[in-house]
């Protein structure tokens, strides 16, 4: 049986993700899916500048330029595994663990 719960993924783009202590992990910029037995399954979301650079296919070049400026380490954002994301309210995605656990 299949659950009837539908989620519009495009509406997640731009939503900020918070952990249980209201610390912000950044806004969702990219969603990654993986092919598993003929079905595309969401496995990860990327937040913040690292997500935006990935979405623009410029993480390599962007990272290199920021490296020249000495700011490579300051690229913010997180790669959040799907299992750490709670979409009970899709407009307000939450982390199921403290922010420090995904860094």
């Amino acid at each position: 049986m299949v659950s009837a719960r539908e989620i519009h993924l495009e509406r997640l783009i731009g939503c900020k993700v918070y952990d249980s202590e209201h610390r912000c992990a950044g806004a969702i910029e990219e969603i990654e899916a993986e092919l598993q037995d003929g079905e595309w399954v969401v496995v990860k979301v990327l937040t913040g500048p690292i997500g935006m650079l990935t979405r623009l296919s410029s993480l390599g070049v962007g990272g290199w330029l920021l490296g020249l400026l000495g700011a490579r380490k300051s690229i913010g954002g997180y790669e959040i595994e799907w299992r750490h994301l709670d979409l009970a309210d899709p407009a307000r995605p939450r982390l199921t663990c403290p922010l420090g656990d995904i860094g």
Partner: protein, 134 residues
Amino acid sequence: MADDFPDMPENGTRLRLARDVLDSQMVDREHRQSGKVDGIVAELRDDGRLVITAVENGLPEAVSRVSPRVGDWIAALGRRWGVRKGEVYRIPFNKVRRTGIEVRIDVDAVATPLLDWEKWLNDHIVRHIPGARW
């Protein structure tokens, strides 16, 4: 064409949805431009997996990304006056055969509502322009 509709990729292949699917131009099996991907629908299964089931095309869905309420208004206006009657057309994700700058879909767009606006424009405007052909 085999090149346009390759076999299903291998297990473990990754896909970036914002970069390679969302807002991309859809092209049908006859190479007709068939609108853009305005939405991506996923289903939360009982086992906790979030499985992508369809892509959507339609103005209400595109506007809903900015404001769901305005999207509902657009859908209501569309039901009253729209060519597609406010309908958002959904294409099963197993019909999506290639992603990237273009999203290749294994459907005949003429047989779907995807080209309803083009048909309306042709019937009501373009065909009345002297010398016009569509």
